[in-house]
């Protein structure tokens, strides 16, 4: 086992433990904060894949923007922040339905895992990923780039609309 693998499993552990923290935290604020480490761990995995630009973007946009929004949201709905989340009110029907859907999803994942022919490509040695991304965005993915702008515009106007409604 070389150091690359050690670092990989370290980041994978961070992602899994903090993701479990998000799911199992009894308090909303702790769940939101666990997400910070999940995002950070994923950024670490991107670095290991030589995707430096995506890694930094992950931190800038997800940790610096989206998680702040989530935390503001948790703080806004103030009554939830200290409330313990309980699942005592669910009945048998819910348990059965949830159990069945969990089994289906898990089965699908296991079948996929066993059947896919996993190829391990060597990580490409690139000078920097920023330059190829710049060229591809302006040529091959030009349309997707502009559609992204329109998507962002819609999200922006939608949020403005909802927030203004008294």
């Amino acid at each position: 086992m070389n150091w690359y693998n050690i670092v990989f499993y370290l980041f994978a552990l961070i992602v899994l433990v903090s993701a479990a923290g998000v799911v199992f935290s009894r308090k909303m604020m702790y769940a939101a904060f666990s997400l910070l480490f999940t995002f950070f761990g994923v950024a670490g995995l991107y670095v290991l894949l030589n995707a430096d630009f995506i890694a930094v973007t992950q931190i800038m946009v997800y940790i610096g923007g989206i998680l702040i929004l989530i935390i503001f949201g948790v703080m806004l709905t103030s009554k939830f922040t200290d409330l313990e989340i309980k699942s005592g009110t669910t009945g048998t029907v819910q348990y059965v339905l949830a159990g069945i859907s969990t089994i289906i999803v898990a089965a699908a994942l296991i079948i996929m895992y066993l059947n896919v022919d996993w190829v391990q490509n060597p990580v490409p040695e690139l000078e920097s990923t920023v330059k190829p991304i710049g060229i591809l965005l302006m040529t091959k993915y030009f349309l997707a780039f502009q559609v992204a702008a329109i998507l962002l515009l819609l999200a922006f106007i939608g949020a403005a609309k909802i927030a203004r409604r008294k």
Binding site: Q146, A149, R164
Partner: protein
């Protein structure tokens, strides 16, 4: 290329190490003579009323939302900026249209008074 990131990880570890060390030292070295009065929330000498777990203005939420939209725009601009010299004029107009589309949203928010604070 990954090797260049090893020093960065070392620095992150050292940085957080120093942070936690300071916190632990503060808790170990500090005096401990706690009274009820010291532990109440400070409210300018008055007896605290209610908690701070209260609602606040939705404006803060809107600022965070606007930030995400423009932050993604800024992130898109960096690869473009690095390569503009080789890409030429077409790339400039592509980015111009991109900025223009987002500026419609900015203008909408502006006219709606989203950037007004009172």
């Amino acid at each position: 290329m990954i090797e260049t990131y090893v020093p960065l990880i070392v620095m992150l570890v050292v940085g957080f190490g120093v942070g936690f060390l300071f916190m632990l030292l503060s808790e170990w070295l500090g005096a401990r003579r706690t009274t009820d009065g010291k532990q109440t929330t400070y409210e300018s000498g008055m007896i605290p009323r209610g908690t701070a777990r209260d609602r606040f203005s939705i404006k803060f939420y809107m600022v965070a939302m606007s930030f995400i939209v423009f932050d993604i725009e800024v992130v898109f601009m960096y690869p473009w900026a690095v390569q503009l010299g080789t890409l030429g004029m077409t790339a400039f107009w592509t980015m111009f249209v991109f900025v223009l589309i987002l500026f419609v949203g900015y203008f909408y928010e502006y006219k709606k008074g989203g950037f007004e604070w009172d």
